[in-house]
């Protein structure tokens, strides 16, 4: 078990990580979900020992890691950049960590070739990394990370620099590869909530260097604890609709369950997928984005900016007026402090 307690890392006076407490079980894949700059890479680098935290402990099965330099920590990492050793061929690249660990040359080469076969590069073993495509280079890096059988495997957005199609295929392959690694703690950093829902056994939401929520992906998605969590876990981000409640009222009509709210300022978080075309509210289109088979339409409704997500390609132009329906009863209510209200 990898256990992190009270981890804090300051750069100047800015906390890049603060009050990180988490534990990760072998054989599970945890997705660290957060926007760019949330601290995902910093957390992984701290676990690997590449940066020293200012406070806190990192323990693997009770052994303190905090004082260990990276070369004494049994970790493997795959980064966003495709990093391989330029002077070694693909086989020697993957065999490198084994040889360093004292495995005999022939044995290391055989294990490297087996690992490369698993990532589909059996035919490339004699090439230099520079002769491979970006995707192949990243497969070499993954093979090198897996061949070590390190108890902790860190995957820092490994596919973010690949084409969209390649990314989908690689993600599927990776899940298969990791299925047999039953003794390994796997951390997978991502900015994409769908990826987290697809892959993770567990999800940790990170925002501004703090853990805002953790749990099973379904749970976190269905019940985000705060507006921040809700916006991280939804892509596109959840639509915040501010409203004011005068006097205590039963708000049962809004949520799935009846909630009671004291008077005050609130925000209703409405997912982009809970806004549909074909409704009574006349909204003006400000921007249309088509990604894959989805359409995101940015709308302006009575001065409120909303994003609508549709599972089809719809072409609209800025300035068009669309009648929309808001599924307000699916909305989540957050108080002025950003926490879920009335749950």
């Amino acid at each position: 078990m990898l256990k992190i307690t009270d981890l804090e890392l300051l750069v100047g006076s800015v906390a890049h990580l603060a009050a990180i407490n988490a534990s990760f079980q072998p054989g599970t894949l945890t997705t660290i979900l957060g926007r760019t700059g949330a601290g995902k890479t910093t957390l992984m680098r701290a676990i690997a020992g590449l940066i020293a935290p200012d406070r806190g402990q990192i323990l693997l099965d009770g052994t303190g890691w905090t004082r260990l330099p990276p070369w004494k920590r049994p970790v493997a990492m795959v980064t966003q950049q495709f990093i391989n050793y330029p002077h070694l061929n693909v086989r020697d690249n993957v065999a490198f960590p084994l040889v360093r660990a004292g495995v005999a040359k022939a044995d290391a080469a055989a294990r490297a070739e087996a690992a490369l076969a698993r990532v589909g590069l059996a035919a490339m073993v004699d090439r230099r990394p520079s002769a491979l495509s970006g995707g192949q280079q990243q497969r070499v890096a993954i093979a090198r990370a897996l061949v070590k059988k390190a108890p902790v495997l860190l995957l820092d957005e490994p596919f973010v620099n690949l084409d969209y199609n390649l990314r989908e295929a690689f993600r599927k392959d990776l899940v298969d590869l990791l299925a047999v690694e039953t003794g390994t703690v796997v951390l997978y950093a991502s900015t994409d909530p769908r990826e987290a829902l697809q892959m993770g056994d567990q999800i940790v939401l990170l925002a501004d260097g703090r853990i805002v929520q953790s749990g099973s992906p379904r749970d976190v998605f269905a019940n985000p604890a705060s507006l921040t969590a809700a916006s991280v876990v939804n892509d596109p981000p959840i639509n915040p609709i501010p409203f004011h409640q005068n006097g205590v009222a039963d708000f049962g009509a809004l949520g799935q369950q009846a909630i009671t709210l004291p008077s005050g300022a609130y925000t209703l978080g409405l997912r982009a997928s809970d806004i549909r075309a074909g409704g009574p509210h006349q909204a003006r289109v400000t921007l249309t984005e088509v990604t894959g088979s989805e359409t995101l339409t940015h709308l302006s409704l009575n001065g409120l900016d909303l994003v609508m997500q549709e599972k089809s390609v719809v072409l609209r132009s800025p300035g068009d007026v669309v009648g929309v329906h808001l599924d307000l009863h699916k909305g989540l209510v957050f108080g002025a402090d950003g926490q879920r209200a009335g749950v």
Partner: protein
């Protein structure tokens, strides 16, 4: 208009090329002259304008009235190569440290330390010459190869540090970090991962060190007498007496040749692109 411009351009290039080649051609033709050929005035074409002779070239190996350049050539080679190897070794290690780790000595940070190394190039040789002279004298190293090598190391290390800091700053840190996570401590990382990928930088550093080492005259001149003459000193010593221009020209061409060859070799190496692009 366009043709006039092109004509002027080619004229200018031709004129400059002539200016560049002029001293070499003069040295080449003079090296085949004898005393009669020289005193006959400025002539260029052998057989037609003067009777060619191999006297100048023969004197390089101890002929009459010339100098034997074999030993100075060997001395220059030993001093330049030893000092270059030492400077590049020490300079590369220091440059790697300055590029990868943070240092604080008193008020000095990495950039200050780097500047300290490089700023030694600003020092006029004359400022150091006298203390060097006294230092080597007290060490008993005046007029000796080890003494010269020591001084040349100080001369060349700033160049090595300058080139290699620049080079290492261009090598992604991710490579070092990957090696660390693969179980290499910094020393093994440097030896097994960084050094094998540093060849282009080492070639450039080596080229600069060899140029500056081979071409230095002043320290060789002030810190040696007769025992360990370097090539430039030997050639300049010909200058003082009644100058045998033929020996002088032949010796000058011999001393310049290695670096001209080096220029072509390095140009080839660099135009092949070295290992650029191998590291993403």
């Amino acid at each position: 208009m366009k043709t006039l411009y092109l004509a002027l351009k080619y004229l200018a290039i031709a004129l400059w090329s002539a200016f560049v080649v002029f001293p070499f051609l003069w040295a080449l033709t003079t090296s085949f002259k004898s005393a009669n050929g020289v005193t006959g005035g400025a002539t260029w074409i052998p057989w037609v304008q003067y009777e060619p002779s191999l006297q100048g070239w023969q004197s390089l190996f101890g002929g009459v009235g010339g100098i034997n350049v074999v030993k100075p050539f060997y001395n220059s080679l030993v001093v330049t190569l030893s000092a270059s190897v030492i400077s590049i070794t020490l300079g590369t290690l220091a440059a790697y440290a300055l590029s990868r780790f943070t240092f604080r000595f008193l008020w000095m940070r990495n950039s200050d330390i780097t500047f300290f190394f490089i700023s030694q190039r600003i020092m006029p040789p004359i400022v150091l010459a006298i203390p060097f002279f006294l230092m080597l004298r007290s060490l008993g190293l005046l007029d000796s190869l080890p003494g010269l090598i020591l001084v040349y190391v100080a001369l060349l290390m700033p160049i090595a540090v300058w080139v290699m800091v620049d080079f290492f700053n261009g090598v992604p840190r991710g490579l070092d970090e990957m090696a660390w996570m693969d179980g290499c401590n910094p020393i093994i990382t440097f030896w097994r991962v960084i050094l094998p990928n540093a060849l282009p930088g080492l070639v450039v550093a080596g080229m600069f060190c060899i140029i500056f080492g081979w071409n230095d005259f002043f320290f060789a001149f002030t810190l040696t007498f007769t025992e360990t003459q370097l090539l430039p000193v030997a050639i300049v010593s010909l200058n003082s007496s009644v100058t045998p221009w033929w020996s002088l020209s032949a010796a000058a061409l011999v001393s310049i040749a290695p670096l001209v060859v080096l220029a072509f070799v390095v140009e080839r190496f660099l135009s092949k692109g070295g290992l650029a692009g191998a590291v993403r």
